[in-house]
């Protein structure tokens, strides 16, 4: 879990990702700027790589911030209803504006992601029984309720076809012109890093924060806003990627602890590496077809999640 290993791994996987695919491209082809290969490279391969890196880093960081602020290792966009709220937001934007533009969808999805996450945090505050496992279960139920509402209205409005694009994460559709919204997450990453110490303090509780003169409420609000921004951009551009925000921060925490200023960069990198790996595997396993990324992450991720659960039990 050292940067010395993470950075080369990230680099090598990125290169592999650029040159794996249905139409074979070799680095030499790129020398001819006019060639078809170069065009594919620029329109499809490169955007795909950038999207994977940003989405992987973003979802992992979002998960880390949520875990810190909720003081629960199993809270993440997947297990707190954030992803489901975002999808409901996208549906609402589609029903509200015919042919909603990307920005309109983004705005509504963001508001819903934020509202959903806040609602979950409110529920969390009300629950007396703060068992580490019980809380994510409540979050999953909350997410499922939102999800059924989405499905119900999507059927009624006959937009279930359009919605399904956001149900499952998929990088094969990422192209120049469709993913640029993800760049919003770059300034969000920077802000998250600048606030890393405050998030760490807030993660130690309200009284602890107040003793150190930290405005607890506003830090929590800022953190959740960042989470909602990242989630909304990722879901809109590549779809739902489950589990990433859950497993990556937990793995990093085991090795590096919870000092966010130290672990945030590792979390972002490991998230990107993991997603890249899943994407490359998904592309080569049933070549020339593709296994969708959310399926890959879902299968591998749920195993790791189970492993983390049992590991926790062994400790407790």
């Amino acid at each position: 879990m050292k940067k010395r290993y993470l950075i080369p791994a990230l680099f090598i996987l990125s290169v592999i990702s650029l040159f794996v695919g249905v139409s074979s491209i070799s680095p030499l082809d790129l020398l001819d700027f006019q060639s078809e290969e170069t065009q594919i490279f620029l329109i499809s391969r490169l955007p795909r790589l950038v999207a994977i890196l940003l989405a992987g880093a973003g979802m992992s960081m979002a998960g880390l911030i949520m875990q810190q602020l909720s003081r629960n290792k199993f809270v993440s966009p997947t297990t707190a209803g954030t992803l489901d709220a975002t999808r409901l937001g996208i549906l609402v934007s589609m029903l509200m504006f015919a042919n909603a533009s990307m920005i309109e969808k983004m705005a509504v999805a963001f508001v819903f992601a934020l509202a959903g996450t806040f609602l979950f945090m409110q529920i969390l505050n009300r629950i007396k029984f703060k068992d580490a496992i019980f809380i994510p279960l409540v979050g999953l139920m909350f997410g499922n309720i939102l999800s059924s509402i989405t499905t119900f209205f999507a059927y009624r409005a006959d937009v279930i076809q359009n919605m399904s694009a956001w149900l499952q994460g998929d990088f094969s559709m990422v192209m120049k012109g469709s993913y640029e919204l993800l760049y919003i997450s770059v300034p969000v990453f920077i802000i998250a890093y600048l606030y890393a110490n405050r998030f760490t303090v807030a993660g130690m509780g309200e009284d602890f924060s107040k003793n150190l003169g930290l405005k607890y409420r506003s830090i929590v609000n800022i953190g959740l806003t960042l989470v909602a921004l990242i989630t909304a951009t990722v879901v809109l551009t590549v779809g739902v990627i489950p589990f990433l925000g859950l497993i990556i921060p937990n793995i990093v925490s085991i090795f590096k602890g919870d000092h966010l200023q130290k672990t945030l960069p590792h979390t972002a990198m490991l998230g990107a590496i993991f997603l890249l790996l899943c994407d490359i595997l998904g592309r080569v396993l049933i070549y020339p077809y593709e296994i969708s990324i959310s399926l890959m992450v879902g299968v591998i991720g749920s195993f790791i999640f189970l492993f983390l659960l049992f590991r926790r039990k062994a400790y407790a």
Binding site: N197, T200, G203, F208, G213, S253, G257, D258
Partner: protein
């Protein structure tokens, strides 16, 4: 000086702290004693502004705490609560470094690092400073939190039952360190203690609470008296003089 003026706190219909007025002198150790549920923790939380009082006010060196910025206050008053359960994976050193947060916001300069080193050394934690909190014993963790409060370097240090979980050796060690903080560095320590013998041996003043009210407030020798203790605890506690210490023999009262 901390002046507590007619402070009250109501939970539902229950008056948990009732019209408490006390002055806490600078450069002294003031112990708060009293039975479980007397309102000691609630009072300390209100003094350090973790909790809003229903009525009354707290003045710190003549300034109302309500008028102070939270960051300013955190450089003047620190508090360690009674229970510090948290499942955050930080090393001792990382935790103690957060004591400097009011000054550095996390970017520690050389002076901050020096304060952190000092606090860790004070608490005898140097050889385990890179151990994670969740892998420590309860007493070691408690010492790490006290080290953090020392690193915070405030004039007023409020500690709610800091001897919880500590063995005899470390209890004595911590009380001696608190004494040094007061005698050498001129700090003011306000501490909640259940073991009245520690209160008797180490504090300058004792304030006794019962049912949310101050029932006794005075120099240690005046409070460590069988009659006064009877009033506070409803127990007959004989007192023995030993090597200049007044020891309460309450084990078979």
């Amino acid at each position: 000086m901390i002046q507590v003026r007619e402070l009250s706190k109501l939970y539902g219909k229950k008056q948990v702290v009732e019209n408490v007025t006390v002055d806490i002198q600078r450069g002294q150790i003031t112990s708060f004693i009293g039975p479980n549920g007397a309102g000691k923790s609630t009072l300390l939380s209100m003094v350090s502004r973790l909790l809003d009082a229903d009525t009354g006010e707290v003045l710190i060196d003549s300034t109302n705490t309500k008028k102070m910025k939270s960051n300013e206050l955190s450089k003047r008053v620190s508090i360690l609560k009674q229970s510090n359960f948290m499942n955050v994976r930080l090393t001792i050193r990382e935790l103690v470094s957060f004591g400097r947060f009011p000054y550095s916001k996390g970017r520690l300069n050389d002076e901050d690092e020096k304060m952190v080193d000092q606090a860790i050394a004070y608490m005898d934690l140097a050889e385990m400073e890179h151990a994670y909190l969740d892998e420590l014993s309860g007493g070691q963790r408690q010492r790490a939190f006290i080290a953090m409060v020392i690193a915070q370097d405030t004039d007023y240090v409020l500690l709610d039952e800091p001897l919880n979980n500590l063995d005899m050796k470390h209890s004595v060690q911590i009380m001696k360190i608190l004494r040094r903080l007061v005698d050498e560095l001129g700090k003011t320590v306000i501490i909640v203690l259940h073991d009245i013998n520690f209160a008797s041996v180490y504090s300058d003043r004792i304030v006794a609470l019962k049912n949310g009210r101050v029932v006794k407030d005075g120099p240690t020798e005046e409070i460590i008296q069988s009659a006064a203790l009877k009033e506070i605890y409803d127990m007959d506690i004989p007192i023995q003089q030993m090597n200049n210490c007044r020891i309460c023999v309450y084990f078979n009262s």
